[in-house]
């Protein structure tokens, strides 16, 4: 503190010190110091503060209260005159109300009989609007999110079918009834451990936090539901409490948040494992399994297993029996197939033969046609040749005949010339034996003894009288 003139300081300095003082200014009279403090504080800038009202009290002239948030509190006072001038609705200033106050710090120095006190002297006061709360909520949301606290609960496994559920809610709230109805609609009739807590005043957040911690400490509790009906953001403000949300983030048990209605979003919704819009929805999140449907499904599964077990044996039995009949059937099948093939082969052979015969017929027709044509041509040629040869032959025959007739005539002439008869005609006679064979030698005539002399006009018998042969001299 800078050196200042403090009223009453001289009197204080006259008092004899009992022991050595530290090296500090003073000592000053406390009353002067108190007034100096009052002046100093009153010089400080006037500001607006926002917080929750607690410990509200009134005197004849002033209203007193503490303005709190999660980090601290300031004692406040407002003159009743100022308060009335503001024209606030009745009961606006009450414990738990979120308000905004305007003013500055003040110090009452007290006196010999009255106690000193520090106050934030409010000259302006209003209920905190949604905007004020939303701004605080947004800042807090950013802070918790940056610390990764929104993810911790969401990583926790949630059981499909919990046996025990912890619920934090108001004992007489409608949310309690709705949650139970929702659970029963799912066919769930397990154990609920109720952690009742106020859900709308300055005691709500600590009480809810404690209830959540106590429920999470119970080993049988598998999931916790925190629920409350709808309201203004100020009404739901307990569920935006930083301590509560930090506590929930660190719990080992998943927390289902069902605070307010669909349009209401509290900080607990961000931190919790699941955020639901209604208690009914929270019931479905807390017990994901529809127990009624699951019982039906389980019955069907049991039936399927039973059928599979029975069917596995009987089906294989039938299969085995079918296998046993297999060889005979296979033989029959093969036999049928063989017969079929035989028929096919026969049909194919007949078809092939027919085709081949037809082909051969066509070939024969072609060949014969060609041969006939050639024969016709040949016959025609031969006819022509024959005609030519016949003519030549005729001509040749005629020539040959002519030549032969001529030769014959010549031969006849020659023959006639040599005809013995013609010789006989010329006066010669021919000697013949008794047989008529001509005798051409003297020896033959001598041997025949009797002979016949043939003349041109006839023959006469003769006898050989001198059988000696006289030889003619060769000239």
């Amino acid at each position: 503190m800078e050196q200042q003139s403090i009223p009453g300081g001289d009197e204080a300095r006259e008092a004899a010190p009992v022991r050595a003082d530290p090296e500090l200014p003073g000592p000053y009279g406390v009353g002067g110091y108190a007034r100096m403090l009052q002046r100093e504080l009153r010089r400080r800038a006037r500001v607006l503060l926002v917080g929750e009202v607690s410990g509200l009290g009134r005197s004849r002239t002033q209203a007193f209260f503490d303005l709190r948030d999660d980090y601290g509190a300031v004692p406040c006072a407002i003159w009743l005159n100022d308060l009335e001038r503001l024209g606030l609705p009745e009961d606006s200033l009450r414990d738990g109300a979120e308000i905004v106050v305007g003013g500055g710090p003040d110090y009452y120095p007290g006196s010999a009989q009255s106690s000193p006190s520090f106050r934030f002297r409010a000259t302006h006061l209003r209920l905190a609007g949604e905007g004020d709360l939303l701004a605080r909520l947004a800042a807090l949301r950013r802070q918790l999110e940056s610390e990764g606290l929104f993810q911790l609960q969401k990583r926790l496994p949630r059981p499909l079918l919990p046996r025990t559920i912890g619920v934090v809610t108001a004992e007489r709230g409608a949310a309690r009834r709705d949650l139970v109805a929702g659970l029963e609609r799912r066919g769930w009739r397990g154990t609920i451990v109720w952690g009742f807590a106020p859900v709308q005043d300055r005691h709500a957040a600590p009480a809810i936090t404690t209830a959540l911690q106590d429920l999470a400490a119970r080993p049988e509790v598998e999931v916790i539901v925190a629920c409350r009906g709808g309201g203004s953001l100020a009404d739901l403000w307990a569920f935006c409490d930083e301590t509560l949300c930090r506590t929930v983030a660190m719990l080992r048990v998943p927390v289902v948040s069902a605070v307010g209605h669909e349009r209401d979003t509290t900080l607990l919704d961000d931190v919790a494992a699941v955020a639901c819009s209604t208690p009914t929805h929270a019931a479905e999140a807390a017990v994901p399994l529809d127990c009624t449907a699951a019982r039906g499904q389980l019955g069907r599964s049991a039936g399927a297993l039973e059928r599979a077990a029975q069917g596995a044996v009987s089906q294989r039995g039938r299969h085995l029996a079918a296998l046993a009949r297999g060889p005979a059937r296979a033989l029959q099948r093969e036999r049928l197939a063989l017969n079929q093939r035989t028929r096919e082969i026969r049909a194919a052979a007949a078809r092939r033969i027919g085709e081949r015969a037809a082909f051969q017929r066509r070939i024969a027709m072609v060949v014969l046609g060609r041969a006939a044509r050639r024969a016709d041509e040949s016959v025609a040629a031969a006819g022509a040749a024959r005609r030519r040869d016949g003519e030549a032959l005729r001509r040749s025959a005629e020539a040959a005949l002519s030549r032969r007739q001529e030769a014959l005539a010549q031969t006849r002439v020659a023959l006639r010339a040599h005809d013995p008869e013609r010789t006989l005609e010329r006066g010669y006679a021919r000697a013949e034996d008794s047989e008529g064979e001509p005798l051409t030698s003297a020896a033959g005539a001598a041997a025949a003894e009797r002979l016949r002399l043939r003349f041109a006009d006839g023959s006469v018998g003769a006898r050989v009288e001198d059988s000696e042969i006289e030889r003619e001299e060769e000239a």
């Binding site: 397990g190 154990t191 429920l215």
Partner: protein, 79 residues
């Protein structure tokens, strides 16, 4: 299967696998009978779990529970 399932959801998941396998028709006789036996055990387990949350809603109060727990150790010490 002789071990108790970890949870209802684990049991249901295994049961679905078993039924899918049986429906596929690819399991042999021995495997089919083993799967059926395991499946029946799972059905029994699941039915017991459903029964546990089907007998009637039981409601406890946290403060009463705490008070009871505080008494129990005292009684135990007294014994």
């Amino acid at each position: 299967m002789s071990e108790k399932p970890e949870s209802y959801e684990a049991a249901v998941e295994r049961l679905e696998q078993i039924i899918d396998r049986l429906d596929s028709g690819q399991a042999g006789l021995r495997e089919t009978l083993d799967l059926c036996r395991e499946g029946q055990q799972l059905v029994t387990y699941c039915a017991a779990e459903l029964d546990a949350v089907g007998e009637g809603l039981k409601e406890l109060r946290l403060d009463e529970l705490a008070a009871r727990l505080e008494q129990e150790p005292a009684q135990a010490t007294g014994d």
